[in-house]
């Protein structure tokens, strides 16, 4: 039996356990990925040998810690092809990154009457910060609709993207529909209208090569924990010229230049956005995660996941009464797949799968407006990563079939 891309499954100790007496079939990587031994080791090695605070002291340990932390920043810059490391801000998560843009940059450029464009498929983290900004500034939050197959309606986008639009904030990959949005084209259209492009890359950066310069994104946010790194570390990429104009949103140690009793001046970006002791171990873990991913090859990961997705889509479409949300073409469908099984509630399906060792997610997936749009209250979501195998996929398909049988027999 295959064992994930390049036998990668062996690098993840968590897969050695049984869940409810069954081999673990982890299909919830879109919520959070699993961590390979190399990432856990990088973090604990740091704490065992070089631990100190960063950017503060001039002793040997502190200088090693600072070097490792800044090397992690360089690695992240390389990973998403940023011009330089100074455009990489470390945050806790995608959520914090997007809040930082909405608060600091949003408050700077958005004024009353302006429009902020989001899509109907946004995660709450790329939605509520903009809702709040719109409320603060008496601006208008405008939603781009979807096509029947779950793709972004580009005609609607072109109609709604006008000179009134100040910010376009869209996920590169939907965490429910799996839709891959044409960010490069949207950024071009946005820039034509003088608007800025903010990309929620939480479900994209872990799964395929991202080039922020090629996309011409003004801001790009993603989370370490969805790409093998520890929880608690995230990234905000911003064009240097924009970061330079922005005010910090948190204040304290590390981010200052000069402090008087009644006033203070800030360090240059990115440090001005990193008040207080950062998640040093997290940044080092993220660098190790990038090493791991790059050794596998982002292109290989993308191709492998597409193959898996084709099998899943085929298998699921053969289950009678199962509704798939999002594109049916594997090439248009990144690593997440949401569905419902007849009239069964998503929770009941998730529990039935859980008892078979298959860990999926059920609920609104932090995307309530999308749920309303789809006219459902919840869905089941299976999500994949390079360590999932053909066997994982087969078990999902047969697990769903058994679930269906169980409930139709039960409800006899």
């Amino acid at each position: 039996m295959d064992n994930g891309l390049n036998n990668s499954r062996n690098d993840f100790e968590i897969f050695q356990q049984l869940i409810n007496g069954e081999k673990l079939d982890y299909l919830d990587s879109a919520a959070t990925a699993q961590r390979p031994v190399s990432v856990l080791k990088a973090v604990s090695d740091f704490y065992r040998h070089d631990n100190a605070n960063v950017h503060r002291s001039i002793n040997t340990l502190s200088s090693r810690a600072t070097d490792s932390y800044e090397a992690a920043r360089d690695k992240v810059a390389g990973f998403i092809h940023a011009v330089d490391s100074q455009s990489i801000v470390f945050t806790r998560s995608t959520t914090e990154s997007l809040n930082l843009v909405a608060r600091s940059f949003g408050d700077l450029v958005v004024t009353a009457g302006d429009e902020i464009l989001v899509s109907e498929m946004e995660h709450h983290s790329n939605l509520i910060p903009w809702q709040q900004l719109a409320q603060r500034k008496q601006a208008k939050l405008v939603y781009i609709g979807l096509q029947a197959d779950g793709e972004l309606n580009m005609t609607d986008l072109k109609r709604k993207l006008t000179s009134r639009t100040k910010i376009v904030a869209i996920a590169q990959v939907s965490n429910v529909l799996g839709t891959i949005n044409p960010i490069k084209e949207i950024a071009r259209l946005a820039h034509e209208q003088g608007a800025y492009m903010v990309v929620d890359g939480a479900q994209a950066a872990p799964h395929f090569a991202v080039d922020v310069q090629d996309l011409d994104a003004d801001f790009y946010a993603f989370s370490g924990h969805k790409m093998l790194a520890p929880a608690g570390i995230g990234v905000l990429y911003g064009k240097k010229a924009l970061l330079d104009q922005m005010s910090p949103v948190q204040f304290g140690g590390e981010m200052i230049d000069h402090v008087d009793e009644q006033s203070a001046t800030w360090a240059a970006a990115p440090l001005k956005f990193e008040a207080g002791t950062p998640n040093i171990g997290g940044a080092i873990g993220l660098a190790a995660a990038i090493d791991y991913l790059q050794a596998l090859g982002m292109d290989k990961i993308e191709a492998y996941e597409q193959d898996l997705m084709a099998i899943v889509l085929k298998g699921l479409s053969q289950i009678d009464g199962l509704t798939i949300y999002g594109p049916l073409d594997a090439a248009k469908h990144a690593s997440v797949l949401a569905f419902n099984l007849g009239k069964l509630h998503a929770h009941d399906v998730a529990t039935a799968l859980d008892l078979q060792g298959i860990e999926v997610r059920a609920g609104d997936h932090c995307a309530q407006p999308l749920m309303h749009y789809l006219g459902i209250s919840a869905a089941v979501r299976a999500s994949f990563y390079f360590y999932n195998t053909r066997d994982d996929v087969d078990r999902l398909i047969s697990g769903l079939q058994r679930t269906k049988e169980f409930f139709s027999n039960a409800a006899r």
Binding site: E22, H347, T351, A352, L355, Q356, S377, F407
Partner: protein, 151 residues
């Protein structure tokens, strides 16, 4: 294959209550109603009550949810209907212990009627919240009524 364990959770009585819930709908003139969300899934349950002569004179619920939450709400309405306030509070407390896997007396068990079958949910910790949602709402409505009386 652990699907057998599913039989433990999805007893016939539960599936029936979910498929054909009792007291589903709205009351003509309920003075007490409360909608509670289940934050893990986004489901909601709305419970309505009419009190008369210190008793739960009428009770109904609406809302979307999983088998467990619908069945539990349905069973709750049957158990609480017609109870006086003190007994209703007691029943809710018994149910709460039952569902957390704590022991309850035979008498309490009997008083809970059909709802006692939900005891098995205690073995599925991820689903406990689904089973308790409607009961929380009812408990809250009883408190509201008692407080108002007190004023």
């Amino acid at each position: 294959m652990q699907l057998d364990k599913l039989n433990l959770l999805y007893r016939q009585l539960i599936l029936e209550n979910a498929a054909h819930p009792q007291h589903y709908g709205h009351l003509a003139n309920s003075s007490y109603h409360l909608m509670l969300p289940n934050p893990t899934c986004g489901d909601t349950i709305n419970v309505e009550m009419v009190f008369q002569a210190e008793k739960v004179a009428e009770i109904a619920f609406t809302g979307q949810g999983c088998t467990i939450s619908q069945a539990s709400a349905s069973m709750m309405t049957s158990v609480l209907l017609g109870q006086n306030l003190v007994d209703a509070k007691k029943l809710i407390a018994s149910f709460s212990r039952l569902i957390m896997g704590e022991p309850i007396s035979d008498q309490e068990n009997q008083a809970l009627g059909d709802a006692a079958v939900l005891a098995s949910v205690a073995e599925f910790p991820t689903r406990i919240r689904c089973a308790t949602l409607a009961w929380h709402a009812a408990d809250n409505l009883l408190d509201q009524y008692l407080e108002k009386k007190h004023e």
